[in-house]
Amino acid sequence: MSIVRPYGDTTGDGMVQLSFTLPIPHDKRAEGAALQLAAKMGMDPAMLVHAKQMGDGFTFFVVYGRVTHLVDTDKVEVVERDFPLLSAKEVNALVKRRLRRKLSVVGACIGTDAHTVGIDAILNVKGIAGEKGLEYYRELKVTNLGAQVTVPELVAAAQRERADAVLVSQVVTQRDAHLHNTREMSAAFREALPADKRPLLVVGGPRFDESMAGELGVDRIFGRGTTPGEVASYLVHELVQS
């Protein structure tokens, strides 16, 4: 069945929970305004179950109700994994056999973002979720530049290390910082290197939309909960097998 609806406690009931603040003080009109928004979002009927004024001019609302929209799971667009998941052994074997040299990976957290836990989870031996990071792979040469790396530093390091792939992490997303930084990075690589010399550009972080790769000028985006194995498999698929 490709058409589904949200489920509260009965198939097809369409129930959802919504909360938000409006920049108006709390009164009946504000409650009506909240219900207006819920209606515009497709909730019918919508029950306003909580309203609380905050400070002088804001009110927080909680609304429960049924949405009229249908979800068509056949029409969902997702970036599905289009490469096989390989073990570390298989990755090493493939690189050794086909590339005949180590595959060079340069990683960094660019801009003023200092969140290294995510990129370290992918790169460091320690890894994450029981999987070892890329440094553990014998046939991968990993250069982890750490955090707060500027784009020119990154491009220079990529050239110095003859990077096959550049892995960039972005965790801070306020005011779309991650998008700005990614665009700046991909543009710099385009400028510095001809297409055939350009390393594979990969970005990751918990709040990326994986379908935006094209728009951001990178080859691939990895989101929440990525594991090192997925990344290694992808690199081999792109750089060694095809």
Binding site: Y7, G8, D9, V62, Y64
Partner: protein, 519 residues
């Protein structure tokens, strides 16, 4: 592990007062019967099914007897006498009911040999039903042995309430998988006032699913499947409450339900059911529960939804003591007493959490061997679901810190809807966190000697004793009429179902009671 420094003499005095206040009600129950008690007897004797309008044959049969000769003799004698006269075997009791409904059977009270014969067949037939209950109890014991009990206390108790047994089942199984030890299927709002038990699997309840024998069976089977999968016996609960309390208990015994909501006063206070009807029904239902190895859950938590949880805390204690007395009198053992109480203090009250701890510990120490049923906040839950989940967390914490036996899991949407699938999942996650992270905290919880918690607990006990003294003087029926519990005033000559009550005639005969009391 006594943390409250309660005076044992005071505790004994409280129990003795409860016994004295309760005894007249027991005497009342022993000398009366109700239509539902009689129907329960017939169910044990093997009457099943319903007429084309959905009215159970037990109702048709009892009604036919009552129409002709009244209720005061009990139905067993006239029914088995008629059966003999019709030349039917005891296994054809349902056929007799159908004939009676069609008006083709006459009833009378047999005497002499006919009476002796009817009594004998009646007892035999009823014993078949009771043996069925016994077999279910043994089966439960076996399954518990095989699958095991929950690893932790408190047991985690979750409700499902979609109104549709076929939505309830997958939700119950999902809940069990997510950690529920006990599943309660909430009943439709209307059911407790029905003077019959609906038949068949049902899909149309309001804010709850009809309690029927088929629904019991379907859900128990589904949970047996879950028990096998989870290697943990998942218990099932329903309600022996309302006008059909004795029959519900009987059906629960026959379908291996494991716990039943069964309070001595809930129906009186919150369903406006006649007090005498309730006390009579209650005694019979508890005798069945005792026999069936079912744990009862009492309803003191409800008082705190209409009365203030601080001011009226002692009424909970009084009611627990009364429920304990009635339960023991009916043959229930301590391990079957899921006495109720609740986390219902207004969260704005200073030190409200410590007051909750004091109240919960008081119950714990007064009833050390009972698996207390700890109920979550409901009254002070609002549409602010974020706050709601927090309150539920503190409720869970109080539960583990004070060693409660059965934890009814609170839902963040308490003030909004009957629980959604996701509410239950979030609530269970909350329980798992609290029990996992602070399951041993009770070791470090030592109420300061003479401090806030000890003082409060002793104060509530003192108030409970004062109230019990008053009740003993005035009678319990008068106290109920005065609005002592939950501020609901319920005089003994009012309320629903009074018409279905009769004082025993001298020749009153009830083979089920005889068998249950003989044990």
């Amino acid at each position: 592990m006594a943390k409250l420094d309660l005076d044992p003499a005071l505790v004994s005095r409280a129990r003795e007062l409860a016994r004295r206040a309760g005894q007249p009600v027991v005497d009342l129950a022993r000398s009366h019967t109700t239509v539902s008690v009689e129907r329960a007897v017939l169910r044990l004797a093997g009457v099943t099914g319903a007429d084309p309008d959905g009215i159970p044959w037990v109702n048709r049969l009892v009604d036919a007897v009552v129409d002709e000769i009244g209720l005061e003799h009990g139905v067993a004698l006239p029914v088995f006498d008629a059966l003999a006269r019709e030349g039917l075997p005891a296994t054809d009791l349902t056929l007799l009911a159908q004939k009676a409904a069609a008006g083709s059977v006459r009833f009378g009270v047999p005497t002499g040999k006919a009476a002796t014969a009817a009594r004998k067949v009646a007892s035999k037939a009823t014993a078949v039903g009771i043996r069925a209950v016994d077999r279910k109890r043994a089966e439960r014991d076996r399954l518990i042995k095989r699958f095991g009990d929950p690893k932790q206390r408190p047991w985690i108790y979750l409700i499902v309430a979609t109104g549709d047994i076929y939505e309830d089942i997958p939700q119950a199984q999902a809940a069990a998988r997510a950690g529920a030890d006990v599943i309660a299927v909430i009943r439709s709002t209307g059911q407790s006032l029905l003077d019959y038990v609906p038949e068949g699997p049902t899909r149309e309840g309001f804010a709850g699913t009809y309690a029927t024998q088929d629904n019991f069976r379907l859900m128990r089977a589904a949970l047996d499947e879950s028990s096998r999968e989870l290697k943990r016996y998942v218990r099932l609960t329903n309600y022996a409450s309302g006008l059909c309390m004795p029959e519900m208990a009987t059906l629960a015994g026959l379908e291996r339900l494991d716990m039943m909501l069964n309070d001595s006063m809930y129906g009186i206070l919150f369903r406006d059911i006649n007090p005498i009807r309730t006390f009579v029904d209650q005694r019979f239902s508890r005798q069945v529960h005792a026999r069936a190895g079912i744990i009862i859950n009492t309803g003191e938590d409800n008082y705190l939804t209409t009365a203030d949880a601080v001011d009226e805390a002692h009424t909970v204690t009084v009611s627990q003591l009364l429920n304990e007395f009635f339960a023991h009198e009916a043959g229930l053992a301590d391990w079957q007493l899921g006495l109720g109480h609740a986390f219902e203090i207004n969260p704005e009250v200073p030190e409200s959490f410590r007051l909750e701890l004091a109240h919960a510990l008081l119950a714990r120490e007064l009833f050390p061997d009972a698996p207390l049923k700890w109920m979550p906040p409901t009254k002070h839950m609002t549409g602010d679901v974020f706050r709601g989940n927090l309150l539920d967390g503190f409720f869970n914490l109080a539960g583990t810190m004070t060693g409660q036996g059965i934890l009814l899991v609170g839902m963040m949407t308490e003030a909004v809807v009957t629980p959604w699938l996701s509410d239950r999942d979030i609530a269970l996650q909350n329980v798992r966190y609290v029990l996992g992270a602070a399951g041993g905290l009770h070791e470090d919880f030592v109420p300061a000697p003479g401090g806030f918690i000890q003082q409060r607990a002793n104060q509530v006990l003192g108030e409970a004793i004062t109230l019990l003294e008053k009740i003993e003087g005035d009678t319990l029926l008068q106290a109920i009429a005065d609005g002592t519990f939950g501020i609901m005033k319920r005089p003994p000559d009012r309320g629903k179902g009074l018409a279905g009550v009769a004082k025993h005639a001298d020749d009153y005969f009830n083979p089920a009671t005889d068998l249950l009391e003989a044990a």
